[in-house]
Amino acid sequence: MAQASPPVLELHGISKSFGGVEALRGIDFTLQTGEIHGLVGENGAGKSTLMKIIAGTHVDFSGRFLLDGRETRFRSTRDALAAGIAMVHQELSIAPDLSVAENVFLGVQPTNRLGVVQWARMVREASELLARLGLRLDPRQRIGDLPIGLQQLVEITRVLFSGARIVILDEPTSALSPPEVERLFAALQRLRQEGRSIVFISHFIDDILRVSDRVTVFRNGRKIAEAESSATSKSALIEAMIGKGRGEIEESYVHDITLPAPVAQPAVLTAHALSLGRSLRDISLEVRAGEVLGVYGFMGCGQLDLARVLFGKLKADHGELAIEGRKVAFASTAAARKAGVAFVPESRRVMLFHQEPVYKNVSISILGRIASILLKPAQERAMARRQVEQLQIRPPMVDLDLGALSGGNQQKVGLAKWLSYPPKVLILCEPTRGMDVGAKNDVVNIVRGLRARGIAIIVLSTEPETVLSLADRIVVMKRGAIVREFSNEVVSKDRLLEAA
């Protein structure tokens, strides 16, 4: 688009650090009137940080901030809103117990002169606004009862039609179905024609290319490239994102990895046509003894729900599960554990008991094997000591409260608790998240050791490196469905990103 008018927003040399860690380094960014500007970059590249500066969430940064050509400094999100800048955050920020209409008009409910809320008007206007996104919802119903994708759309409705002239959308499509994405894009085009400016952050590069006029690529807190959408391509953007051929020092698995031929072992866990609400659509997969199956997908693609269905925490609406060929329907996580399924969730908060000693954390899942009624603490400690030694957990004191251990060591305890009696199937969610390189290597070695013992392992992650470093076979999930399987072939990070 040829731009005659001055840019609505101009940033020069923006830097921002969090406790000594530089999140943004000297970013220049321009947003034109009536433009949709796409932002891409890996997790932690700095996209969200920059947007939070624009929206007034982060007020402590260096660099020049020009709004309509005038030097501006917001002191809060309220200042930004007053200046016509609104943002849809990655995490939902709705009030679940209020109605849809109240959420659409959160904080700006229409009132009469006495300050009394005009309910009928609010409901009518809310349903008009929702209809512009193609949503036919009863505005009076409680928003918390809606599926997560619809909640996200209501929040988008609120921000899009709040009258803001700059709208920032951070990963708005992760929980949406394809037709909903279409309607959102149509609404964005109309807003652009009205002369508003939109910043659109997404992992879905196809979406970015379709909807935006220009694209900016971030990597490690720097702006790497900016291009007209019509003049670039998906592969060029991915290359800019992950820095292929630039001789980056960090290990980034940009090189190709050759996946082996499938092992000639029987399938241990088989899932057939699993569906769950809006988060899982017709998922079929199997994992064999001595095989690591990687499940890769962006945040919100449904892999966490899939893991929970496999461990009996969630119940699938449709579909079947089988362990060693025998059909199973887990009524509880305890039933899944008894059938030989082990589960390590993605967050330490939900996998461990921080106020209990290490040995109790290690023994919790296998207590039934060593004690029918009376506990045998000596045996528990001995067993825990063996695991602590094998996994090199530091410090090696099994009576220490778990909370005294470092994060990486806690994560190892979360794995250790399943290993005294090896399970048939081990499900690992984000097993290396937040770990340093050394701890990551430990986890890789542990998982390889378990594979060698014939355990069927499923690794689910939003980080391509994790899946690539661990898996023998990889399936890619997108919006609740498996869209691609890599097996017995050469795969690389950009091929994974391309498929997702």
Partner: protein, 342 residues
């Protein structure tokens, strides 16, 4: 107080101050108990006598029996507000199934003593099971579910006695509730035995460990493959059965079975558990704490009688002591967190 034996080998690297702070929850109630005992012993010559110690033991027995089950519930980070009503209805039921004197105007169903006791126990277990199902299958918060059960149990009591008073209970109950052996009241022995049993179960059995783990982090317990619903359901049944036993012996102890007889025991048993230092957030504490809590309340109630205070002021003082204990409970949680951060 008594934690599991494992907890005694705390790593030596921690400073004494940090250990003290981490153990605040257990130390504070004990200091309160010693302080109250010394205060009343000085204030009244009749307080610190063997006879009076016996009085206190007898006075806390019914609360103690009820508090055993409640300790399990609170350790699981749940609450049971129906215990006093369940105690009441169980006591009434056992009398209802016993032959009463001719002047008692109740259309009851006399049965042999053993059968009456079994039916009463079945009744409280069934009420506990309803609580358990409401919590685990339907997902009603325990506060609300047991509030409803409080009314239901009170309603059954009302229908059974219809405003009348029954006196007779089976011989076994009557012995355990009001007789003594070698100068020691049976009810004290039963209370001690049940507290001991509760302690052993919580400390030395797999089920006890699960109770602590579910209370400590319910999500982690579920992701560790524990059957959380089964454990939560079980503690609700245990609480109701303990309340029922307390109710039957209480009826024998008081010498009558009537409506609203146990109303004060709800607050007393919750207070005993919490004042003793068991965390309302679950996972911390135990029967040892409950015993200290029982004595704090027992000494307080008994001592206030000895020092001749306005009996109306007594209620207020009890309330203030309870508030102080709750404040300590919450602070102990925070102190523990800071001790860990060091």
């Amino acid at each position: 107080m008594t934690e599991s034996p494992a907890e005694s080998n705390v790593p030596s690297s921690r400073t004494v101050g940090a250990v003290l702070r981490a153990q605040m929850r257990n130390i504070a109630p004990f200091i309160t108990l010693i302080f109250l005992s010394v205060f009343f012993a000085v204030a009244s010559p009749s307080f610190a006598t063997i006879d009076n110690v016996g009085n206190i033991l007898t006075q806390v027995s019914v609360t103690g029996i009820i508090a055993v089950g409640l300790t399990f519930v609170i350790l699981c980070a749940e609450i049971d507000l129906s215990i006093a009503s369940v105690a009441n209805v169980t006591g009434i039921a056992v009398a209802y199934f016993t032959q009463q004197e001719s002047y008692v105007n109740i259309a009851n169903v006399p049965l042999p003593g053993g059968v009456a006791i079994l039916l009463a126990l079945a009744l409280c277990a069934a009420l506990g099971l309803v609580n358990a199902l409401g919590l685990t299958l339907i997902g009603i918060p325990s506060f609300i579910m047991t509030l409803a059960m409080m009314q239901i149990a009170a309603g059954i009591s009302a229908l059974l006695v219809r405003g009348q008073i029954a006196y007779k209970v089976p011989d076994l109950i009557s012995t355990l509730g009001s007789a003594s052996i070698g100068g020691i009241p049976w009810i004290v022995i039963v209370a001690a035995a049940m507290l001991l049993a509760g302690h052993l179960v919580l400390t030395y059995t797999r089920f006890g460990r699960y109770v602590y783990m579910v209370g400590g982090n319910r999500e982690a317990a579920e992701y560790s493959g524990l059957n959380v619903r089964l454990i939560v359901g079980a503690v609700m049944v245990i609480a109701a059965v303990c309340a029922g036993i307390g109710g039957m012996l209480g009826v024998a102890h008081f010498g009558s079975a009537q409506q609203n007889e146990f109303d004060t025991y709800l607050l007393d048993s919750i207070a005993a558990v919490v004042v003793g230092g068991t965390s309302l957030f679950g996972g911390r504490g135990g029967i040892g704490n409950t015993i200290v809590g029982l004595f704090v309340l027992g000494v307080l109630n008994n001592g206030l009688d000895h020092v001749n205070i306005d009996s109306f002021l007594k209620i207020l003082i009890r309330g203030l002591i309870l508030l102080a204990a709750l404040i300590i409970n919450v602070y102990a949680q925070r102190l523990r967190a800071t001790a860990k951060a060091e």
